[in-house]
Symmetry: C2
Subunit: 205 residues, 2 copies
C-alpha cells in the first residue's frame, strides 16, 4: 500500500501530527468528497510557487508587496518587528495595531549558528533610514533568544542616530511588548521570572 | 492570500486539526524542501484513485485483493470482524493475529439511520458460507453500538448453521475480545461498567 503509507509519512512529518494521527487522517480522507481532496492536493502543490515573502516586510503574500505594506491607511511611522510571518497573523487577528510589520525570519541563536547576518536585520535598518519611522516595537517572544535579539536591535537602531519622521528632537523610540501575568492568570502558578518582570513593570492606577 | 487561506481551510477540516494548527502547518510547509511538498501534493492527489477497498475483506489496498487476503500463509479458518480499515492496521501492528479480516464499514446505529443493510454484513455471511471458517472474532469496540452489532452478527452466524471447516460437530464459534481493566490501569479510575465486565469475565490462575 505505497500511496497510503507514503501519504501517512508525509502527514506525520507535519508539526504536531504523529504517526497515529496521520493514519487517522489518511483513513478519513479516503472517505471524503473527491472534489475537496483534489482541491486540497492542488493548493498544496502550488503553495510554495504562489506564496512568497513580501519584498518590504517579509510576511507571506501572493503579490510583490503584501496587502498591509500596500495599504496607504496603515501608519507607516510605527514598525512592529516579529520573529515569523505567523506572528503577523496573530497581531492582525487582535486587530488593534495599525502600523506596519517587519519579519526577522528567526532570532539570534549563537548555539544554533544563527547570527544577525541570517536575519532580515539589514533591510529593517534600511527601512528606518528611509526616514518615516517614529517607533519600532520589538515584538519577539519574551525568551532568552527573543530578549537578546531585541536588545541587539535596540543597540543598532540607537546607533543609526536617525531622527524620527515627526521631526521630534529625540531619537527613534524602540519599545518592547510588556511582560507580565496574563489576564485570567493566577499568581500561584506564575513562574518566578514572569513575576519578577511584572513587579518591575508595575504601573500606577 | 487566497492559496494560503484556502490551504489553511483544507488542513483545518482534517480530524484533530484546528484553525491554529492549520496556520502553523502551512507556515511550516512554506519553509520546507520543495520536493517533499510536491510529493505530498501528488500523493494526496492520487490517494482516492489508487487506494480502494479490498474486494474480499474491505480494508484499504492498492490491488484488487489486499496483501493479507492474498497471503496463503494466513489462517483462513479465523476471521476477525472490525468496524473500520484502521482497526486492521492496529491489530496488524500488534502482530500476533494470523487469521483474516472483515471490515464492516461502520456499526449498527439506528438513531443515525445505519442499519445492517449499510454494512458489509452480507459479504461476511457469504465468506462464512464458503466453508473454511472455524471462528469469527467480533472485534468491534466495547460500546453500545459495538456490542449491538456484535450480538446481531452472532445471531446471524448462528442461524446460518454452517459447520466449521475442521469438520467438528459444533457450530462455528463466534467470539468477542475481552473487556476489562487495561494493563497498567488503576481500579480507582476505572468506570463502573468496565469494572462490572471485568468481574464477570474474571479468570482462574
Amino acid at each position: 500500500m505505497s500511496t497510503f503509507d507514503d501519504l501517512t509519512n508525509n502527514f506525520s512529518r507535519l508539526p504536531g501530527i504523529g504517526k497515529k494521527s496521520a493514519v487517522r487522517i489518511v483513513n478519513w480522507l479516503l472517505k471524503q468528497d473527491g472534489a475537496y481532496v483534489q482541491k486540497f492536493a492542488q493548493n498544496l502543490g502550488v503553495l510554495q510557487e504562489r506564496v512568497r515573502p513580501c519584498k518590504v516586510c517579509g510576511t507571506w503574500t501572493e503579490s510583490d508587496t503584501c496587502p498591509i505594506c500596500s495599504d496607504p491607511l496603515r501608519d507607516s511611522s510605527i514598525i512592529c518587528v516579529v520573529e515569523q510571518p505567523q506572528d503577523v497573523s496573530t497581531i492582525e487577528a487582535y486587530g488593534e495595531f495599525k502600523g506596519l510589520y517587519h519579519v526577522l525570519g528567526g532570532l539570534i541563536k549563537p548555539l544554533e549558528g544563527v547570527g544577525p547576518a541570517q536575519l532580515a536585520i539589514a533591510p529593517l535598518l534600511d527601512r528606518i533610514r528611509g526616514g518615516t519611522v517614529h517607533e519600532v516595537i520589538v515584538a519577539t517572544n519574551p525568551t532568552v533568544e527573543g530578549d537578546t535579539t531585541a536588545l541587539y536591535l535596540n543597540k543598532l537602531i540607537m546607533e543609526l542616530g536617525v531622527l524620527p519622521a515627526d521631526g521630534g528632537r529625540d531619537k527613534i523610540k524602540v519599545t518592547r511588548l510588556a511582560t507580565g501575568i496574563p489576564v485570567g492568570g493566577d499568581l500561584e502558578y506564575i513562574d518566578k521570572r514572569t513575576l519578577s518582570l511584572s513587579f518591575r513593570g508595575r504601573s500606577e492606577f
